[in-house]
């Protein structure tokens, strides 16, 4: 036990001195220092958070924010030439890949949930979504409960799956769930009338609708199943890296720089097709920017 205490003491002393020596590093920062590489996990079709542009390069709101973290890591480790590796992840493999060290930071559209917090840590909330449903304008569906007994599509591996099951138990209704591998497939199932509604995060629904052949054919129900914060994921139990992420993103939010980044992705035309999502900052999101926090749901 003595050695442990000694190490803690050393770390504390050096931290106080504001001096970053290699031997005090631990966890992710140590790994980055040793390998000279930070690996960001990104999505490929989570518009506009993290997706591939027309040159198939990962871009998006979450990636812009992650690059702020990368800048902070460069400064902290005094490694201006730090290499950034990009690794595509999916909703189903993002957590194992983070845990097994393939990626160091996940920059996507991941809900900060209490259940996931048992496995991973989250940075400050950078977006807040509402789980709701998209339907065809031509359909008679007015509320989610109207979907009782009807086929409903959603994407496997997302929090909506559990939310639908919960609602079924709570209200005694029965949906016929169809799972798409990804949002485009789930949306297609609804667009082709094979599902009466597509239940998913509102911003992702807006993205699918904006991309559809006839965006005017669809509407999003006003009802909200649940409100969820989005954030970047990092490995659990890595306090120094977590502090760095919190500090870097907190600074962007406090300085107001976040508004520019937000506007770039949510209220301006975005690649690859120059679509504008027209999704201005909601009061809840504004609140998250004012008080950076990592509270899960």
């Amino acid at each position: 036990m003595r050695r442990f205490n000694f190490a803690v003491l050393c770390a504390a002393v050096m931290l106080c001195a504001g001096h970053a020596a290699a031997q005090e590093l631990s966890g992710t920062l140590k790994k980055i220092k040793e390998t000279g590489v930070i690996t960001l996990g990104h999505r490929e079709s989570s518009i506009p958070f993290s997706y591939l542009d027309d040159k198939q390069q990962p871009v998006g709101y979450a990636l812009d924010l992650c690059m702020k973290v990368v800048d902070a890591v460069k400064a902290e480790l005094k490694m201006p030439a730090l290499k950034v590796a990009l690794q595509p992840v999916t909703s189903s493999n993002r957590i194992p890949l983070l845990q097994n060290g393939t990626i160091d930071l996940e920059c996507g559209s991941t809900t900060n949930s209490v259940q996931r917090q048992e496995q991973v840590s989250f940075g400050p909330t950078y977006f807040v979504i509402n789980i709701t449903a998209a339907v065809k304008k031509s359909s008679s569906i007015q509320s989610i409960l109207d979907l009782n007994g009807k086929p409903v599509s959603t994407t496997s591996g997302t929090t909506s799956v559990a939310e639908i099951k919960k609602l079924e138990k709570l209200k005694g209704v029965d949906f016929k769930e169809i799972y798409g591998k990804d949002h485009a497939e789930s949306f297609l199932l609804m667009a082709e009338d094979r599902a009466a509604a597509f239940i998913m995060d509102d911003i992702l629904l807006a993205g699918q609708i904006a991309n559809a052949r006839n965006p005017g054919d669809y509407r999003i129900l006003p009802e909200i199943l649940r409100t969820e914060p989005y954030s970047m994921m990092l490995r659990k139990g890595d306090a120094p890296f977590k502090a760095l992420v919190d500090h870097a993103i907190g600074a962007v939010m406090k300085s107001g720089e976040i508004d520019k980044i937000y506007a770039k992705w949510f209220t301006s035309p975005i690649p690859p097709k120059g679509i504008n999502l027209n999704f201005p900052v909601t009061p809840v999101i504004r609140d998250a920017f004012k008080n950076p926090n990592d509270k899960g749901v």
Partner: protein
């Protein structure tokens, strides 16, 4: 079909070509590695040393009774952890889906190539090996200079057919989010919401390629049949 938008394919061609490059690479590497490892397995299965023959047979039967998808996921999730415990490294080595697929396919396909090569080796008259031994060649010389070249030649059409199956099986890595040809198409389909167009395109390209390859393999089979 009037409102399909095939422009999406033109815009994505470079990306799709990149995916096809990976598909071909993985096929070639897995074929070469699989034939080599498969031949060694075949020799082990035919070995008179019982434990070796049993171990090889067990491996081949195990690989042949579980779905390729399951094998792909096994290696993908667990190979880093296993390697870490083997090497005693501080953290799991970075393998990634692209690289783990090479190992997966070599190890998986080897089981199938083993059975092909075993049949090939057994198709060579025993007298030939005996003649080799009588000339004073050792086991490896007999195998390398007499038995395997003929076995390989006899089995070439079957090996090629298996290679075409392998070329198609590679598409399963797209489910691990790897950017092979199918993976590239699926990703574009998702991002641009053009599922129908991309899936049709993939089917047509794969069909044309595999049809050309299998016609080639058949012609080769006819030529070899005449020579023999």
């Amino acid at each position: 079909m009037g409102d399909l938008d095939f422009d999406v394919i033109g815009r994505a061609l470079p990306y799709l070509a990149h995916g096809m490059q990976y598909t071909v690479q993985l096929t070639v590497v897995a074929f070469a590695g699989g034939v080599v490892f498969g031949t060694l397995l075949a020799l082990a299965r035919l070995s008179s040393f019982k434990p070796l023959a049993l171990a090889a047979a067990g491996y081949v039967n195990l690989m042949r009774s579980i779905p390729l998808l399951l094998v792909i996921f096994w290696f993908y999730f667990l190979a880093p952890v296993l390697l870490q415990s083997l090497t005693g490294a501080e953290r799991p080595p970075q393998i990634g889906a692209e690289r783990s697929a090479y190992i997966t396919f070599i190890l998986f396909e080897a089981a199938y190539f083993c059975e092909i090569m075993r049949a090939g080796i057994q198709s060579i008259a025993k007298g030939q090996a005996a003649a080799g031994f009588a000339l004073g060649l050792d086991y490896w010389q007999v195998m390398r200079r007499i038995v395997l070249p003929q076995a390989f030649r006899n089995m070439l059409p079957v090996l090629l057919t298996q290679a075409i199956v392998l070329f198609q099986d590679v598409s399963l890595v797209s489910l691990l989010n790897v950017t092979d040809f199918v993976g590239a198409a699926v990703k574009i389909a998702q991002r641009d919401s053009r599922v129908i167009e991309m899936y049709l395109f993939v089917a047509v390209v794969y069909f044309l390629l595999c049809f050309a390859l299998s016609s080639g393999a058949r012609r080769l089979q006819l030529r070899l049949a005449i020579v023999r």
